[in-house]
């Protein structure tokens, strides 16, 4: 017996010894000898990847585009939108797109000197091949999109690509611009790699050939992390002096949020997509170096891309009745929802009564412009002071908050359309008991789940209606929404990051309604102003975004939406997109250093990585100070500068450039202020050179004539 006892003890001891005796260094999966200060650690928000050695995101449904780091540090995009100001950033494209007058041709100018990570030059051939490959490969991500719009795509020269469109579209370049997150078909693929591939859908593109500043160094065979190494031969460094400070970027999945909070508390995670408030609190208490949208509390980002709330299936009885939807909206005490999303650090959401994320640049043209009409429709004329103060602090109109809280009015609306209330329950006009079923997400998008329960509570308490919340897993949630198999859902159909709302609201038109996948049914919903709304969308689609008419049309569309209320949006839920300033600094922070939104899982993260600086608190070997900021000049080809005297060439050159400026301005998003300024400044300076020369010539001529005249007279 003693022997058995001894054996048991020995086994236990052995486990303990093995556990404790193993070295304790290198908590992160880094190559031997790499110090923490050389590595930027970003959350892989997707989780464990099933096949981490597959970088072909053109395969439909392939997840992880922004979680593996591919979209942020490897992929190459023509343009990006800076969501802080809706500006267009020219990246691989040397200038904004140039449209023909009929908007059936779009010209793209590429930067010269760009190379892929294997050294091959990036040219118009790559762009043409990329688009044609997608158009040729049925089922590929973006296939039907390009097929619908592109008649032909060809190169005019090695750095100019021409898109011939099937029908006019002044916004075609949006399809090739990273606006929210980034789409796989927007990342240009290398022709020299893919042209050898027989079946592009079965190609894994591993290791990926990059246009970004990093190349793939290593991948976790288990699928939890991706390690990228700085490309010392990156074109951005050679051509423009840009150089990212971190030698490595590690995208890693630590596990559930609680573990991520621990990782960030011990400086093993530098940036994360979001935390629930309770986990944020853990990090906030344990890490004094954290920052978020602001550098100090309140930290949460108030402008996430979508206005969260609940959507009605407007094709399903009784939610196809406008009065019912409006009644349900007025039965919600907005202050309760607002307070529930006020974080422990004082982070507050941005009330958004319209399906438009309420950036400062959106407030005046979309919210303030509709204020009177919204008041007539039931906007709260006396919103809570606390919310008004919050809106004021963001530079937004404090008088526009949300719909009034008026349950009595809700009851009247319901009774008006035949609903009855008896024995503590509401009954439908058909005589059946009314029970509202809300589909909510489970295990993901927990903010929306919280909204579902809060709304259910409000409807129960204020209206006395029976409500059942059904949390379902992600796959079921998405399928229910897509197939329209729900009554009410905690969905978020209102997303926007551009002042130009057309790409965000065009799906409201009935021409895009798919009976097989009706979604919330708004596009297929028949109501008196349906034809008017369709006409507005048609007009918006054919009107260039810089035309002042666009704002008027958007207002009309938004007003129709507000009259109908196909969904109830509260606000973009505050996102605790945190970063750790222990090893790296110069993160974007509002308002002092607000050069980008904290979109660490979007392709725009590239612009943050390029500006980070090592703090010196973490040991480094190969981290450097960052190069020049990623502000690239517009390099649209202009007429070759004259080699002879300005006198003979100057007038022609001046005219050409002026036309180019006009075209550039015409073909750009209206609110691209900085870009516009940049172009104008650049061209102005060129014009000034020639003008000076011309003026000088004229002055010299006049002086010459005067001298000649004087000499002759003498």
């Amino acid at each position: 017996m003693r022997k058995v006892l001894s054996l048991a003890l020995l086994a236990t001891l052995l486990i303990g010894i093995v556990a404790v005796a193993i070295p304790t260094s290198a908590q992160l999966p880094l190559p031997p000898g790499v110090p923490r200060g050389d590595v930027l650690v970003i959350e892989n928000h997707y989780g464990t990847h099933a096949d981490p050695k597959n970088f072909n995101y053109l395969v439909p449904g392939r997840p992880g585009f922004g979680a593996s780091g591919f979209s942020q540090v490897c992929a190459g995009f023509l343009w990006y939108i800076n969501t802080t100001n809706s500006e267009l950033i020219n990246w691989l494209a040397a200038a904004p797109p140039e449209y023909s007058d009929d908007f059936k041709t779009m010209k793209v100018y590429l930067r010269k000197g760009i190379t892929w990570s294997d050294g091959t030059p990036f040219t118009a051939d790559d762009v043409v091949f990329h688009v044609k490959m997608i158009m040729k490969t049925e089922g590929m991500n973006g296939h039907y999109l390009f097929l619908r719009w592109v008649e032909d795509v060809y190169k005019e020269d090695d750095y100019t690509v021409v898109f011939k469109l099937k029908k006019p579209n002044p916004r075609f370049h949006y399809f090739l611009t990273v606006i929210i997150y980034g789409a796989p078909y927007q990342a240009i693929m290398p022709k020299h790699v893919w042209e050898k591939v027989k079946d592009p859908l079965k190609f894994k593109f591993y290791p990926p050939v990059c246009l970004g500043p990093y190349v793939l160094k290593n991948v976790d065979p288990g699928g939890n992390w991706f390690l990228w190494e700085r490309n010392e031969d990156w074109w951005g460094t050679k051509l423009y002096g840009m150089k990212p400070a971190p030698k490595y970027v590690l995208f890693i999945h630590h596990g559930p949020e609680e573990k991520k909070a621990l990782a960030m508390s011990k400086h093993e995670l530098d940036a994360i997509r979001t935390f629930l408030p309770e986990n944020f609190e853990v990090v906030w208490k344990n890490n004094k170096y954290i920052g978020g949208w602001r550098g100090k509390p309140p930290f949460a980002w108030p402008f996430d891309a979508c206005v969260k709330g609940v959507a009605f299936n407007v094709l399903k009885y009784p939610y196809n009745i406008t009065e019912v939807r409006r009644a349900l909206a007025f039965a919600i005490n907005f202050k309760v929802i607002f307070d529930a999303f006020t974080g422990p650090d004082g982070s507050k959401p941005t009330p958004s009564v319209l399906p438009v994320v309420r950036h400062v640049y959106d407030d005046k043209p979309h919210y303030v412009a509709l204020k009177e009409e919204l008041l007539k429709l039931g906007l709260d004329p006396n919103p809570p002071k606390e919310i008004q103060e919050h809106l004021k602090s963001l530079g937004l109109d404090p008088s526009i908050v949300w719909w009034k809280f008026d349950p009595e009015y809700s009851k009247k609306l319901l009774e008006k359309v035949g609903f009855t209330y008896k024995n503590g329950h509401w009954y439908l006009p058909t005589g059946e008991k009314w029970v509202i079923h809300i589909t909510a997400p489970s295990g993901f998008e927990m903010e929306s789940q919280r909204i579902a329960f809060l709304v259910a509570e409000q409807w129960k308490k204020n209206l006395g209606v029976d409500v059942v919340v059904e949390p379902v897993e992600s796959g079921t949630f998405t399928s229910r929404q897509a197939r329209g198999k729900f009554e009410v859902g905690a969905f978020w159909p209102g997303c926007s990051q551009l002042l130009d709302l057309t790409p965000h609201i065009q799906s409201w038109a009935s021409k895009y309604f798919d009976p097989n996948a009706p979604g919330i049914g708004w596009a297929g919903y028949k109501f008196p102003k349906r034809a008017e709304l369709d006409k507005i969308i048609d007009e918006l689609e054919s009107t260039p975004p810089w035309d002042p008419k666009v704002r008027e049309l958007e207002k009309k569309a938004l007003l129709i939406w507000a009259e109908q209320l196909p969904w109830i949006g509260f606000f973009p839920t505050p996102f605790y997109t945190l970063h750790d300033k222990y090893c790296w600094e110069n993160w974007p922070e509002f308002p002092e250093n607000y050069y980008m939104d904290p979109v660490y899982w979007w392709a725009q993260m590239l612009f943050i990585i390029l500006q980070l600086k090592p703090t010196g608190r973490c040991p480094t070997k190969e981290a450097v100070q960052p190069g020049k900021p990623p502000v690239l000049p517009v390099e649209k080809p202009t007429a070759t500068p004259p080699k002879t005297t300005p006198k003979t060439v100057a007038p022609g050159a001046t005219v050409t450039v002026t036309k180019t400026v006009e075209r550039t301005v015409v073909s750009t998003v209206e609110k691209v202020r900085t870009m516009f300024t940049t172009v104008t400044k650049e061209v102005t300076s060129v014009v000034t050179d020639w003008t000076t020369a011309g003026v000088l010539g004229v002055v010299l001529l006049i002086i010459g004539i005067a001298i000649g005249y004087v000499i002759r007279r003498r």
Partner: protein, 337 residues
């Protein structure tokens, strides 16, 4: 010479084995088909979310081409036979989640992780739990026995999730002797001794999270109770009265009798390891089969889900079959009839 009775016994068990597998496969197929998830609709929804607005005709085409691409066309009956064929050939076609990677490849990548972790943890927990449980019963009333019982009664009802998080908090955060992330470290030099040690180190916390509750939970409590029962049996009391040595009684009378139910439970536990340990894998970000199956089911990836579930079906059915065959060797009271 193999007896006829034995052959008949094996044949009947083999028939049961085959019928079990066939039935389990059919039920699994039907359940998967009844899921309210469509991978294709989810993919289209994600494309729409990326700003791709399609006209309905293009959507119909897209839907058709995706169904073809993922091999999801045909009537339910056709699909059943297609999947049955795949099941019999153990070739489940391409995964939808990680297209075009074959499901078999995904499973083979995850299998060593799962078998390594769960096989080791289950066996260790079983051995130590049974030994400690038996000893606690034999030395019933001693301080050590009482202490072990108290610990077991405290640990057993703790939810697994909490137990795992406590381990992480203690040994990866407060006393950071283990890393927060599991799976592999950087294997730049291949499977070197250092890389293997790193792998073991990264797997220790997940393993402990299975061993501790298993060892001090079910295995300890069940073996202790079984031992106490056997110790109070007439034949044990008689053996003691006969003056047989205590170690002999424990070895021949007690251990052999508690071994039968415990071995059965071990066999079944080992059979189920092929479905992975979902909670462990999620909490520790451990790349096992459980997470793969979960993601596949959640996203309507029938091929991958069926692949992992088939492995589990085969695992459990095989474990049961083997146990049925070896029972008579463990317990002479069981006869081939």
């Amino acid at each position: 010479m193999v007896s006829r009775a034995l052959l008949m016994y094996i044949a009947s068990r083999a028939a049961t084995f085959a019928a079990t597998i066939f039935l389990a496969f059919t039920i699994t197929f039907l359940l998967l088909r009844a899921m309210p998830v469509s991978a294709v609709e989810n993919i289209i929804a994600s494309m729409t979310a990326q700003g791709q607005v399609y006209d309905p005709k293009a959507l119909i085409q897209l839907r058709r081409s995706l169904y073809e691409l993922f091999g999801l066309t045909g009537s339910p009956v056709e699909q059943y036979f297609r999947f049955l064929y795949r099941f019999l050939t153990l070739d489940f076609g391409p995964s939808i989640l990680a297209f075009p990677t074959p499901v078999r490849e995904l499973i083979m990548n995850r299998l060593p992780w799962t078998v390594g972790l769960l096989g080791f943890s289950v066996v260790i927990a079983w051995i130590i739990g049974n030994i400690l449980g038996t000893l606690a019963a034999v030395f019933e009333g001693t301080k050590l026995s009482k202490a072990l019982q108290s610990i077991a009664l405290v640990i057993y009802p703790i939810p697994y999730y909490i137990m795992a998080l406590v381990l992480i908090y203690l040994f990866a955060y407060l006393i950071p002797i283990f890393p927060l992330t599991s799976g592999a470290g950087v294997l730049t030099q291949g499977l070197t001794p250092a890389a293997i040690m790193d792998l073991i180190r990264r797997s220790t916390l997940p393993a402990l999270s299975i061993i501790i509750p298993g060892m001090l939970g079910w295995w300890f409590l069940s073996s202790r109770t079984l031992t106490l029962n056997v110790l109070s049996e007439d034949y044990t009391v008689y053996a003691e009265l006969r003056g047989l040595p205590r170690s002999y009684i424990l070895r021949r009378y007690v251990l052999r009798n508690i071994l039968l139910p415990q071995t059965t439970a071990l066999g079944l536990a080992l059979g189920t390891i092929f479905s992975g340990a979902l909670l462990t894998e999620v909490i520790f970000a451990y790349p096992g089969l459980g997470q793969l199956m979960y993601r596949a089911i959640a996203n309507g990836d029938y091929s991958t889900a069926l692949g992992v579930l088939s492995l589990s079906i085969i695992g459990v059915a095989t474990a049961t079959f083997i146990l049925d065959i070896i029972y008579p060797f463990i317990d002479p009271r069981v006869r081939y009839r």
